[in-house]
Point group: C2
Chain length 479, copies 2
Amino acid sequence: MRQAATADGVGSKGRRVEEALRSGLRHGRWAKGEKIPSVRAMAEELGVHRLTVLKGYRLLEEEGLLESSYRSGYYVRMEIPSGEASGSGVRWSYGAEAGCVAESRLAEIHGRAVRYRMSEALLDPTLLPNRFLAKHAQEVIANHPLLLSTYSTVMGDEELREAMAGYMRDRRLELSAEELMVTTGAQQGIDLAFRALLQPGDKALIERPTYSPAIDLLRQRGVCALPVDIRPDGYDLEQVENLLATERPKLFYLNPTFHNPTGYTVPVRQRKALLELAERYRCILVEDDAYSDLYFREPPPPPLFAYDTEGWVIYLRSYSKYIAPGLRIAFLAARPPLLSAIRPLKALSDGGTPLLGQKLFQSFFFSSRMQEHLAKLRVAVSMRKEAMERALSPSGWSWESPAGGLNLWVRLPQGLRASQLLEHSLELSAAFVPGPICDPLEAMHDRIRLSYSMLDERRLGEGVAKVIEAAEGAAAGNG
Amino acid sequence: MRQAATADGVGSKGRRVEEALRSGLRHGRWAKGEKIPSVRAMAEELGVHRLTVLKGYRLLEEEGLLESSYRSGYYVRMEIPSGEASGSGVRWSYGAEAGCVAESRLAEIHGRAVRYRMSEALLDPTLLPNRFLAKHAQEVIANHPLLLSTYSTVMGDEELREAMAGYMRDRRLELSAEELMVTTGAQQGIDLAFRALLQPGDKALIERPTYSPAIDLLRQRGVCALPVDIRPDGYDLEQVENLLATERPKLFYLNPTFHNPTGYTVPVRQRKALLELAERYRCILVEDDAYSDLYFREPPPPPLFAYDTEGWVIYLRSYSKYIAPGLRIAFLAARPPLLSAIRPLKALSDGGTPLLGQKLFQSFFFSSRMQEHLAKLRVAVSMRKEAMERALSPSGWSWESPAGGLNLWVRLPQGLRASQLLEHSLELSAAFVPGPICDPLEAMHDRIRLSYSMLDERRLGEGVAKVIEAAEGAAAGNG
């Protein structure tokens, strides 16, 4: 549905359309979720050609202010706030569901063919034990000739789930195979949890900033997302409790360990307190744990799930990211009542994650080679992190050095906007994620996420230099 | 959420609760979608213990009359009709979304460990070229060492999509790679299409009977499903047009080729007429095509998609079913505007079908061995069909002999109900699908679906004999 506004699209009549729309949005002529006049009606109202109106609508759609719905017109997605964006929650329109989810801007950035890919929080495939995996995979297939012809069960392969539950129990997570479901990536786990637990109009807490596809999913479900700030020392628990008490959200989606995009880790005492709050206010915690094993010195604290005695946590654990990411094997752990609300949705979504990937993952993961690989990987990733930090230091920009994970969350100097910097960086073939994409309020214009895992040290140095160079271009453009 | 009613659970007080509920449902005390009183309130009203009420609620939930929503109580899922179920549409409550999708009864039946599995419309793995697949898979992995470490794109592997678009073009389906998305099974394609196009409260046409997970998906989305009868000669197009004109449904989910469960095939002239109707009434046709290649004598007519010049069809094509079903590789074809409404949902659902399965599928599918395998498979399946028909003939029951696919849709003699027959059959270790599961109106008590693809000819004979034997037990039970 979404189409790029054409470069030549906005003449003086175009500006008139644009201004009429912005003013209508700013002064509440149309509320969030409301349908704005049809292209034809607006063209008549303003006395301009319909194409001019259409271009204006598309421009504001590009900016995320409008949303187009398949065959039914344009809707207000964001009102233009009169002052600064406040922390009081973003209410997405119910109409945001169905047929009008725009392609995410993240996908747009990843889609650019650039030399310096610092936008993707993925592991460089050259860091993975590819030969070992390939050889191993051949053996597994040879030993299981019916593997390619056999459906998985909805919950996932029982042998794998047994093995993984045992592995987690060894790490002090009380868990049985019945409490574990295999998902196609943690992304599917988030989607299933949200589908099972949230209805349009419901409320959910979400970190600010956060993993942007989670924002997209909430928007797509027409859920009211209430942001909770995450800082180097965790959350403001008073803010959390206040939101829980007054807004009664159904769930809190959080990523407390080497948080994406910031790299922050929520301390142990907060983890325990969060569980108490969840129990008291009957709010489910959807804990996304993708990076726990990618620590640089010390292992991080146990997940929230480890402190959950009453079944308030849905624990999304992905391991395949750093072994065989192409297999997309992840796990969703939850106590029986929650899991049985999710299982039917898994059945309806895809009938079960393909079996071959599960068996290959199992064979790799429980091999003696695994821990060895992981130890090496930690060193390699931390060296890349350090290379990026070295390359960034001349910039004078600031960031908290993360203790694990794949990202630096960098604060830009005053006057430099992330979107402008990105524009200039892309011209120099360097990509990163601008702050607003990670922000449920779509502000944080002074932040960028730089991922250090996809490039080797030399190229990281070059790529970061390009971004710093781009900042000069952006500053010149402003002057 | 769902729990089996305990066998000893219903005493005289229990019966009082049950009758109060049934009477309330029958006489419209609570409407469909409405929340019934809490367990505590009902216990007070009837002067019985809360556990007794809870058991009653669970019993009616088992019967599909009530639905429990996670932590929020019980809702009316079906009203008890005073007369016969009419063809005027089933309106599922909006509240049916989110956390209260019961495990499907189909999954329940498939989950039973029985000797004679005639409930599953899947191919027996022993009919597939397993050794060839395994050997081939090893080669593919050896030749692509980075395959296990590489993410797929959201749309699917480009090489595979190019090859498949070419294959379809050779079969007179005008299609480019950009119009093709790889999905994890056709099931995911249905889910994505419904999520992209339907909002709660929308209307959709659905065949009666149909593929039951599609019913579950519509229910889960809170969509109003309007049944269209399918018969040996196709649809009643007047009924279809009437529904299109008066109800303005957004889509029609249909399975016009070797239809599941009936085996019927919609004739060519109706295919053309359906396209005209779709265009005229702006209704999208979601065409599920899983069995086209499994014909016994003549290939079936081209899919609806072949007649679609204006982009009203979403074509779900699964091939992996009869090659390597464990890989779960299927395709969704649609013109760009529709596809771009679906693509963001695929991104949010799982980020893309795992690459390994795609590459393996591609390698098998375009191998010289493929067409040879398919020809043999058609013979093998048609022999199984004939074996089942021979075994059924002493029963005196009736069915239309299908020209392809995996199922017989059998009409039972008067007085024999599918659910009773199933109960007795399961005792004899034979499973099939009772008619009501395939019926959006949950009637069709005189029909059963018998799948002939999972058992060899001898076992089919034995299994069908068990079902016929069970009919005698059911009749005795009635007498």
